[in-house]
């Protein structure tokens, strides 16, 4: 009953009735995977945004990268990377971090042109991100601006999964340990060039696999045990 009202599916159905804009309408028209689905059969989209800052209202997206995961295998064929053309000069520090200069940015596309393709890729998939706050915030903000509605987003957050695991141990950890790079190092995953949206999306997916294996399950756990609660921020 609780799920019926607050669950992803019921929210999606309610929002579908309100939305008019085609790209978002199509996204909301596709059912989400059932929460009881074993994780190895859940269609997933690993996603990463590089942004000028943490605030979805005042900051901008610099680039996006995503790749589909089917059967717990990252499908590089679906990998996509896009630089976003934003208005205004780039702040220097974010240029240094992301290696995206004004010159490069000018070769990007405006976010309004990129969103339809992204929403199409997201159809029927659960998002996989590291530190969901950013991607969730920006996605909802942009959809609100472009289509007049902030959609419901089923998300698996590798940071939350890792934090839960570390919390269960008696040893202390520092917040820095939860960074994508550091967690990957702990799992002996290969070093990728950090701070590129697509390689971070792939890196997040690999980290997710490694975290899953740590759970030592005998049968793949259901989506429900990994997904963020719809009401969590």
């Amino acid at each position: 009953m609780f799920n019926f009202i607050f669950g992803y599916e019921s929210q999606r159905r309610r929002q579908l009735k309100k939305v008019a804009a085609a790209p978002l309408k199509q996204y909301l028209a596709t059912p989400f995977p059932d929460l009881k689905t074993p994780i190895d059969r859940v269609p997933i989209l690993a996603l990463d945004f590089e942004t000028t800052g943490l605030n979805a209202k005042t900051d901008h997206i610099l680039s996006i990268g995503y790749v589909a995961i089917d059967g717990l295998a990252i499908q590089l064929e679906s990998a996509h990377h896009q630089i976003i053309h934003t208005i205004g000069d780039l702040r220097e520090e974010s240029v240094i971090v992301h290696h995206i200069t004004d010159d490069k940015k000018s070769r990007g596309l405006p976010i309004a042109e990129v969103m339809p393709r992204l929403l199409e890729a997201m159809c029927g998939r659960v998002l996989l991100v590291h530190y969901a706050h950013i991607e969730k915030g920006f996605l909802r903000q942009i959809c609100q601006q472009l289509y007049g509605l902030a959609p419901v987003l089923p998300i698996i957050d590798t940071l939350v999964i890792a934090r839960k695991r570390l919390d269960q141990r008696t040893t202390l950890y520092s917040p820095g340990d939860l960074r994508l790079f550091n967690l990957r190092q702990r799992h002996n995953l290969p070093r990728y060039r950090a701070h590129n949206a697509l390689s971070d999306a792939i890196a997040t997916a690999e980290l997710f696999f490694a975290e899953l294996e740590l759970k030592k399950y005998t049968t793949p756990p259901p989506l429900k045990s990994l997904i963020q609660q719809p009401w969590s921020r």
């Binding site: 190895d40 990252i74 990998a79 990377h81 002996n188 697509l198 390689s199 696999f209 294996e213």
Partner: protein
């Protein structure tokens, strides 16, 4: 191409045969990759695999087993696993994931399509696969011949019973005493009469002696609590496979919960050694040189079989040396039958690898004759004829004449004990380049036939001289350091380019010989009598000459390089080639290459230590 996938493309592009493909094809291939993560302990292919896949290891490691559970090899980062792409072949293999592994997969069909225009590169996959197939086939033939003893022997026929047990509350000291008293290498520990662990002599060495743990510690601290078991009806072959798989040396024999016996790897080895025992028996009975020749011809096949059975390399060398010793001994007997009894006692001695018990197949003959000092000038012709008879016989049996003329047919090396004593004295006190060369040959001597005391006395005299003679040791060191492991400045292999063995590593001269030389110097510096390299390293471990850690590293390096050499030669024998010591790095997996580099680094390190100790 998304520039962001470049890192993955670069990784792929560095792996043969992809390294020969143009960038555009690499990019197409990269796009078709799926990335998966495999948990340790699982098998390939993963459960939800729908079509045959090619696997590229990004991190982690997997092991390949034959369907008979024989370990065929290991793959590590950057290695490709191709044989699931071969229609019939993958039934012959099991691939087990040793470590959590990040793996790139490609559909075999996709590879086929994308490489359609590159038949040579595509053939690479077939070649490796058929090569492996070849190996399995010859293995299966092997199992029916040589392993029949193992397959037909049930464990209950060779297990040790009753099992020596003790309560798990006893101390390590008490356990060690009990094991020494009962002459066993393992102990089953009980708690309320139930087996709770196993302790082996190796455990004591590794977990107590090596770590400095006090011997009053309870044995339960260092025992292994998982006891791996077999039933007494199991055949010996299966037991051996179980040991190989689990990397253990002892199995408890349990039937219906009842502990009935224990079996160790040496029990199995003894059983397996019957084949070389059979050959040496036949040699002992040989009535003519022709009959000896015939037995001797089996030597390469014996080497190949032992390698493929996974017998540890030191045991293989010992067995092969045992066969050539038997041949030599039989030749001595035949010579005495033909020439009559010797007028005075003598010792037929082997030098070099034969003396060190480190032979692989047919090596060159290195030998000498040491005759009792009572020899008279008129006895000369007898020993001349004896030497000729034996050396010619050895040559006919496939042990070619020594190119350096280090043989008893050379009058210089057919002398009385006193003359030999003078030789050694001169070499040690006035080192010259020639003298040093002889030292490296004649300091490794072993009596094969005749009066053993002659060599014993000579050796004792010599070993009294060497430890004191620092200048001699310095010269010997200087000489030994001429052979260096093939690691360049950037820690990569320096390959042989002599026109005949291009792009190979000389495992003998650049790998084994430096270790043999080091071990000899340590032994001479410490006045140690041992002759074989591993015995020498064991004897000097923890002495002034060599730390126990250094000894252990050198021992590992020696065994690893020797294993690669034996395997390489076994393959050459299978291919109908003449075995040599030149290994192409591309014939071994990336993981093994990494191990080989480590082994070479160990040699380099210890060479530089000894160099600084004995500066000339």
């Amino acid at each position: 191409m998304e520039i962001e996938l470049q890192e993955i493309a670069d990784f792929i592009a560095a792996i043969p045969p992809f390294d020969r493909l143009p960038g555009a094809v690499i990019n197409q291939i990269t796009r078709k990759i799926s990335i998966r993560y495999l948990r340790r302990g699982g098998d390939l292919p993963p459960d939800n695999t729908k079509e045959p896949l090619l696997y590229i290891l990004r991190t982690g490691a997997v092991s390949l087993f034959s369907s008979q559970e024989r370990l065929l090899g290991k793959l590590g980062e950057g290695d490709i696993c191709t044989f699931f792409c071969m229609e019939d072949e993958h039934h012959h293999f099991v691939v087990r994931v040793d470590e959590d592994t990040l793996i790139y997969t490609l559909s075999c069909k996709t590879v086929q399509t994308l490489l359609a225009e590159y038949p040579d590169e595509l053939a690479y996959f077939h070649k490796t696969a058929s090569h492996r197939l070849n190996q399995t086939v010859s293995e299966m033939q092997l199992n029916s011949s040589i392993s029949s003893t193992l397959l037909q022997t049930p464990i209950r026929n060779i297990m040790h019973t009753p099992v020596i047990t003790a309560d798990s509350s006893i101390t390590i000291r008490e356990a060690a005493q009990l094991m020494a008293e009962k002459r066993v290498s393992s102990l089953i520990l009980l708690q309320a009469d139930k087996p709770v662990g196993i302790l082996t002599d190796k455990d004591i060495a590794k977990r107590c002696v090596a770590t400095g743990l006090t011997r009053n510690t309870a044995v339960s601290e260092i025992m292994t609590s998982t006891i791996i078991t077999v039933g007494s009806h199991t055949d010996a072959f299966e037991a051996m496979m179980k040991m190989t798989r689990k990397h253990i040396h002892h199995l408890a024999v349990i039937d219906n919960g009842q502990l009935n016996g224990i079996i160790s790897v040496s029990d199995l080895m003894q059983l397996e050694g019957r084949n070389s025992v059979y050959i040496t028996n036949a040699i002992r009975k040989a009535k003519s040189i022709e009959a000896l020749e015939e037995q001797s011809r089996t030597l390469p096949q014996l080497q190949r079989q032992l390698v493929q059975m996974g017998v540890p390399v030191n045991r293989i060398s010992e067995m092969l040396t045992a066969v050539s010793s038997a041949i030599t001994r039989r030749l001595c007997k035949l010579a005495e039958e033909a020439l009559g009894d010797a007028p005075v006692p003598y010792a037929w001695v082997a030098a070099g690898s034969h003396a060190r018990r480190e032979q692989s197949g047919h090596s060159d003959q290195d030998n000498a004759l040491i005759i009792d000092d009572r020899m008279l000038p008129e006895h000369q012709p007898y020993f001349t004829n004896l030497a000729k008879f034996i050396c010619d016989g050895l040559a006919r049996c496939g042990f070619v004449y020594c190119p350096g003329d280090v043989m008893a047919i050379n009058p210089r090396w057919r002398q009385t004990s006193q003359v030999w004593g003078d030789y050694f004295h001169n070499w040690i006190t006035t080192p010259s380049p020639k003298a040093l060369m002889y030292c490296s040959i004649f300091f490794d001597l072993r009596t094969i036939y005749g009066d053993e005391t002659i060599l014993q006395h000579l050796r004792q005299e010599m070993l009294q001289l060497t430890p004191k003679n620092e200048l001699f040791l310095a010269h010997l060191t200087h000489n030994a350091l001429k052979l260096k492991p093939p690691l360049g400045f950037f820690r990569d292999f320096v390959l042989v380019h002599d026109g005949k063995h291009n792009d190979t590593l000389d495992l003998k001269h650049n790998g084994l010989a430096p270790i043999v030389d080091l071990a000899r110097i340590y032994a001479l510096a410490e006045g140690v009598e041992a002759v074989s390299t591993l015995e020498r390293l064991n004897s000097v471990a923890g002495s002034r000459a060599l730390s126990s850690n250094g000894a252990e590293n050198l021992r590992d390096a020696f065994e690893f390089i020797n294993t690669l050499r034996m395997r390489h030669q076994a393959q050459q024998i299978s291919d109908g080639k003449i075995p040599d010591n030149y290994l192409s790095p591309s014939d071994i997996s990336k993981l093994e290459r990494a191990h080989l580099k480590d082994a070479f680094k160990v040699i380099q390190t210890l060479q530089s230590y000894i160099e600084s100790r004995y500066r000339v």
